[in-house]
Amino acid sequence: MSTISHDDIERAASQLRQAHESGVPCAPLNQFIPATDIEAGYAIQNMNTDYWIAEGRKLVGRKTGLTSKAVQNQLGVNQPDFGMLFSDMAYADGEDISLSRMLQPKVEGEIAFILGQDLDSDHLTLADVISAIDYAVCAIEIVDSRIADWQIKIMDTVADNASSGLYVLGSEPRKLGEFDPQLCGMVIEHRGEPISTGAGAACLGNPLHATLWLAKIMVDVKRPLKKGDTVLSGALGPMVSVTGEGVYELRIDGVGSVRASFVDGK
C-alpha cells in the first residue's frame, strides 16, 4: 500500500503536465517519491488521465510497456506496465510529425490490435482476447519521457503515462490467422540500415499474451477496453532514439509496414 500523501501525488502529476505542456523536461519524481512505488506511479498517472479527459482529450486506447525481459531487468521489475492513448497522439502512415511535439523521442516497432468487442468481463482468458480482436496493423510507437534525460525508475515511467508519446498506425488491416504473432519478423529501417530487429516473441512471448495482461488489468482499474479501442501491445525489439528529421520505416512480416516521418517546426 502506497503511503505517499495526496499532496505529493498532486505535485508529481502537475510537474509532469507542466513538462508536457511546456516541452521542458522535469526532474525525476523519485527525488520525492520512492523509485519503486509503482502504486504511487499509477495514482499519478490516473490523476492526469482524469485531468486530460476533463480537458476534452478523448481516450482511444491503451499501451503495454516493459514487455521485454531485457527492459524489465533494466528497471528491476518483473511485470509490464500500461499507459493511456488519446486521439491526438495518433498519426497516419507517413504523415509529418513535428519534432516540437516531443521532448526526447524514441521509436519502437509493435503490433496494434483494434478491438471489435468490449473486454470488460472479470474472468478474461486468451480466448476472449482472440475473439475480441477485429484486426491488427503495424504500429510505430514513439515513446517519450517528460523526465529529463530519461532518468527514469519504474515509478517515474508509470507516473508519466508509461512514457507514452505519439503513435503511427499502419493502414493494412490483418485478421488474426493471417500472420504468425509469435514468429513474425520485425525490422525498423532508417536511411537503409536495419536499426532495430526482433520478432513477436519479444513481447511477453506473444503480443496476444501482452494484450490479455492489459485487458485484465484494465478491468481491475475500471477502465476496461472497449470496442474500437486501439491496443499497442508492446515492442518487438529494442527502442531506438530519434536523432532528428527523417523517416523510420517499420516492417512486420505478414502484417505490413508503416513509416514515421519526423520534421522540424511546429
Binding site: L183, C184, V187, E189, T197, G198, A199, A201, D253
Partner: protein
Amino acid sequence: MTDIPHIAEIVDTAAHDATEISQLSLSGYDLTPQQAYDVQAESIDRRMKRGETLIGVKMGMTSRAKMIQMGLDEMMWGRLTDKMLVEDGGEIDLKDYVHPRVEPEIAFLMKQDLSGKVSPLQAVEAVSAIAPAIEIIDSRYKDFKFNVPDVIADNTSSSSLVVGPWAKPDINIANLGMVMEFDGKAVEIGSSAAILGHPARALAGASRLVAEQGLSLKAGWIVMAGGATAAVALKPGVQVRLSVAQLGRVNFSVLP
C-alpha cells in the same frame, strides 16, 4: 617475413585440441587481412590432409548486433568442413570446445557454382534450399578477444554448425522471426532482417569475398549467412533450439 605455415599450425592445433591461445597480434604476428586469409587457407589444408572435406563457407560480422558486440565494422568469411557438422537433434561435448557460443542463422544450399560480384537476385537464383541453422562459434583466442586479422586467421571462429530441415527457396526470407531458446526459455529474439538487411546480401557478399581469394561457391555447398542476434555462451547440459518463421526448428543439446 611472415611464416604462414607456422602460424597456420598454431591456429589449427589450437582448434584441433580445443586449447586457448593468445592473440596472434599480441604474439608478434602482425598480419594483414590478406595474410590472415592465407593462414586460414593453410590451416584448412591441414584439416583436409587429416581427411576432412570442404562443405561450404560461413559469413561473419553480418549483423549490427554482432558488429557492436565485437567492435568491428566489416564482413568476413570462414571455411566449413564435414567434421564441423552436428546432426539436427544431436549432442555436443563442451570438452571439444574452448568457450563456445551459439548464434541463430539462415543456411543456403547451393544449386550451382557462384563466384564474383553478383546481385542478391543472382545469388538467390543459385540456391536450391534454405534452412534454419545454429552456428557454434568458438574463438580459440583467450577471452574471445581478437582484431580483424586474428579472427580471419582463426577461420572466423568457425567451430560447428547444426542445420535444420531444408525448405524450397520460394520463401520470402527478408524478415523471418528467429527465436533461440535454452531449455525452452528465449535467450535471443531477432529477425533475418538483421543479416545485412536481407540474408541474400550475405550470400552475394560470400560470392564476392571468396572470389577475392580465387575461389567460388560450389554446387552442394552450404553457405551460412551470419548471425541474426548476439551470440550466447553455451552451458553444460543446456538444450538449444532455434525456431525460424516458415522454416521450422533446429536443435541440439550439450552434454551435462
